[in-house]
């Protein structure tokens, strides 16, 4: 399967004197985390299928600095930001798509002041555009009528008011979209944000991801849909903690669409 993936780099494009339509910012999770790599590949398959002229930075990509900034290390954040901006500006990047809401938020909102001005999209927004433009189509297929609940990533939803693109995509799968008690503006965090992903939680009586997973399981879903690699990890762990991994799957929206396409 992997030989089918066509993943050119910005350097490849430059060597040919061309510009891609969009830069796919893979992010650290998408590059290194085993679960997130599957999301990356699913998204690339969709890009290939829709014949999108995209490129990645590959080894020239580096952490956006989001976890450092939220942890309080503004120095490290700005060092990362300035370095990344230098690379992207050298390639004259105009448009970026990413499957990570943290990268999305940081590049979109915090890079402009430091000299990085790009049009930034979350992959669910980008996929929705591809569908609307007719470059990609979904045949209901295997998700028709399935109960799917969407967990809003904080950095996509509350932080940037993107609530509809992921939901529109789920509905295009002809699945039954069910909303949790806390959704959209009131969505409950998965527990990973603000650099919590990289440390143990403070003392309490419960893990945040378990609380959120319980809210999701209350809806009796067959699939918990996510739009963030960190949320995905947290919800997957939550489902395991509740011993429900046999009947409830945690999947990224890109995976749902790629699977519907049988890619």
């Amino acid at each position: 399967m992997s030989e089918l993936l066509n993943v050119p780099t910005m350097a490849d494009f430059m060597a040919q004197g061309k510009q891609p339509e969009v830069l796919f910012w893979v992010g650290c999770a998408g590059s290194f985390d085993d679960r997130a790599k599957k999301i990356t590949k699913a998204f690339v398959k969709l890009l290939n299928k829709a014949k999108v002229d995209f490129a990645v930075l590959g080894t020239e990509e580096s952490c956006t600095g989001d976890p450092a900034k939220r942890a309080g290390n503004e120095f490290l954040f700005q060092m990362q930001a300035v370095t990344n901006i230098e690379v992207m500006n050298a390639y004259e990047v105009k448009k970026i798509v990413t499957a990570c809401p943290h990268c999305f938020n940081t590049i979109k909102n915090e890079y402009p002041e430091l000299g990085g001005n790009y049009e930034v999209m979350h992959h669910t927004q980008f996929l929705k555009d591809l569908l609307d433009e007719g470059r990609l189509s979904i045949e209901g297929g295997q998700f028709k009528g399935k109960r799917i609940t969407f967990h809003d990533p904080c950095y996509l939803g509350r932080a940037n008011n993107v609530y509809e693109a992921p939901r529109d995509l789920i509905q295009k799968l002809e699945a039954e979209l069910i909303e949790m008690k806390n959704c959209k503006k009131n969505g409950l965090c998965c527990g990973a944000g603000g650099a919590q992903m990289f440390k143990d939680a403070e003392k309490g009586d419960k893990e945040v991801n378990v609380e959120r997973t319980e809210q999701a399981l209350d809806m009796k879903p067959e699939i918990i849909a996510a739009g963030c690699p960190f949320c995905n990890t947290m919800m997957t762990d939550g489902v395991k903690a509740k011993e429900r991994e046999d009947d409830v799957k945690v999947m990224d929206i890109a995976e749902l669409i790629a699977n519907a396409q049988d890619l």
Binding site: C63, E74, R158, L188
Partner: protein, 433 residues
């Protein structure tokens, strides 16, 4: 001697408003202790936000029960205060119900006030029951003991008494009752006093009138010491609140300067600083003076409703962090600093305390997921997250006091451009796996 009531009234008004003005000055001084922040952009949008969120209560009604009750008290408060204008004129001039000469409209006005007074009274009773009988969880968190708990109840008692006095004042006003216009509620209370002599009824009316206006002046002065300041500060607070996407955290300018210097190959790293160089800014915040004035205004605006804390994922899962406590601690420390300045002839003398550790613990700060639920929940656009972030910045950049795991994460980013120990050269390996 005929002018004695007028003189007493003028004196009460002078003292009541004068003392309040003095405390407003102190309030402004304390908020001014914060760092500069230029918020002069987008005025039209800011006015719109203030009209929608503060005046229009748009975020209050997201919780329908509390929201509706609050709208009643709020509308009642504003509308009934038109009556205060008449009371002040009457008090100063020695007239009685000077507006009654406007005719039937007067009846309509007072009738509206009376209905609102009853509605406010009922709403306040429900508020009291929610706090003290039903004991809603958000009113019983650990920071809601002693003064904060009593403060909330005192405000409710105040409002009950003021509304009662207003209705009694109307019910015992024989002249007003004889007008048979506007006494929609008080006509049913008037009979309770019918067995008293006319002189006694008049005495009750005068007492209620005086207690009502004195009560209002006392309440006005209570504001500064209470969480109830929100009735005034909600307006500037919603006006100055951030218009940016919630996910956007500010980039520290002082850091940008240093980063630019580090990246500039032409800068001599060993150059001595210029003679008139500013003292390098402190990174982040360890005390209230390190926060900006908007964050301090936020702290005075907080009315401790606890919607932030009830939405906080950390608090919901039993962690110590409570965004409301962050705001309360900031205000308490700011008040302490203000008193210190007052006691030391206008300069702050180090008292060996600070906001960090003495008020807000590290455990609270590190429990935050930066999810913005608290910011979204606040009905008056307070941002507890910005204070948490500034205090983390101090811990990390001034003290190198991040939790070990976070230090590992940051070292990884520094060395190999990812929060995990993977080689940057392996970033595209997924393609072939």
């Amino acid at each position: 001697m005929d002018y004695l009531p007028n003189i007493l009234f003028a004196l009460a008004l002078f003292i009541g408003i004068g003392y309040f003005a003095k405390n407003v000055k102190k309030l402004r001084r304390n908020i001014g202790l914060g760092q500069d922040l230029d918020i002069s952009d987008n005025k039209p949008e800011r006015w719109k936000n203030m009209a929608r969120i503060a005046l229009g209560q748009s975020k209050m009604v997201r919780r329908p029960v509390a929201g509706l009750l609050h709208v009643i008290v709020y509308v009642g408060f504003i509308v009934i205060n038109i009556e205060v204008l008449e009371i002040i004129i009457d008090g100063l001039l020695g007239t009685h119900r000077i507006f009654s000469s406007i005719g039937s409209l007067y009846g309509v006005l007072i009738g509206t006030f009376e209905i609102l007074a009853v509605l406010v009274f009922v709403a306040v009773i429900v508020f009291w029951i929610r706090r003290n009988i039903i004991k809603l969880k958000r009113f019983w968190n650990s920071e809601m003991t002693s003064w904060p708990k009593n403060d909330a109840n005192y405000i409710l008692y105040f409002e009950m008494v003021l509304m009662t006095l207003f209705l009694v004042m109307n019910a015992t006003d024989i002249h007003f009752q004889e007008m048979h216009s506007g006494n929609v509620i008080s006509q049913f209370i008037a009979p309770w006093f019918s067995h008293f002599s006319e002189g006694t009824v008049h005495l009750i009316e005068r007492s209620a009138w005086w207690l009502h206006i004195l009560g209002i002046l006392i309440f006005l002065n209570y504001l500064y010491f209470s969480k109830h300041l929100h009735i005034l500060l909600a307006f500037p607070n919603t006006f100055y609140a951030s218009l940016k996407p919630k996910g956007e955290f500010n980039n520290l300018e002082a850091v940008t300067k240093e980063v630019k210097m580090m990246m500039d190959p032409n800068v001599d790293p060993f150059a001595a600083p210029a003679e008139n160089a500013e003292v390098p800014a402190k990174f982040g915040a360890s005390d209230v003076q390190d926060l900006n004035w908007l964050q301090l205004l936020n702290a005075y605006t907080c009315t401790e409703c606890g919607r932030c804390t009830s939405e906080c994922p950390a608090n919901q899962t039993g962690k110590k962090l409570s965004p409301r406590k962050i705001m309360m601690d900031t205000r308490d420390r700011l008040e302490e600093v203000g008193k210190n300045i007052d006691a030391n002839k206008g300069t702050f003398v180090d008292d060996g305390k600070q906001l960090l550790d003495d008020y807000i613990t590290r455990e609270e700060l590190w429990a935050c997921t930066s999810c913005n639920a608290c910011v979204e929940a606040c009905p008056v656009s307070i941002n507890p997250l910005s204070i948490i972030l500034d205090m983390r910045r101090y811990l990390v950049m001034e003290q190198s006091a991040a939790p070990t795991e976070l230090n590992n994460m940051m070292t990884n980013i520094e060395n190999n451009g990812a929060p995990w120990p993977y080689n940057q050269m392996d970033r595209l390996n997924w393609k072939n796996e």
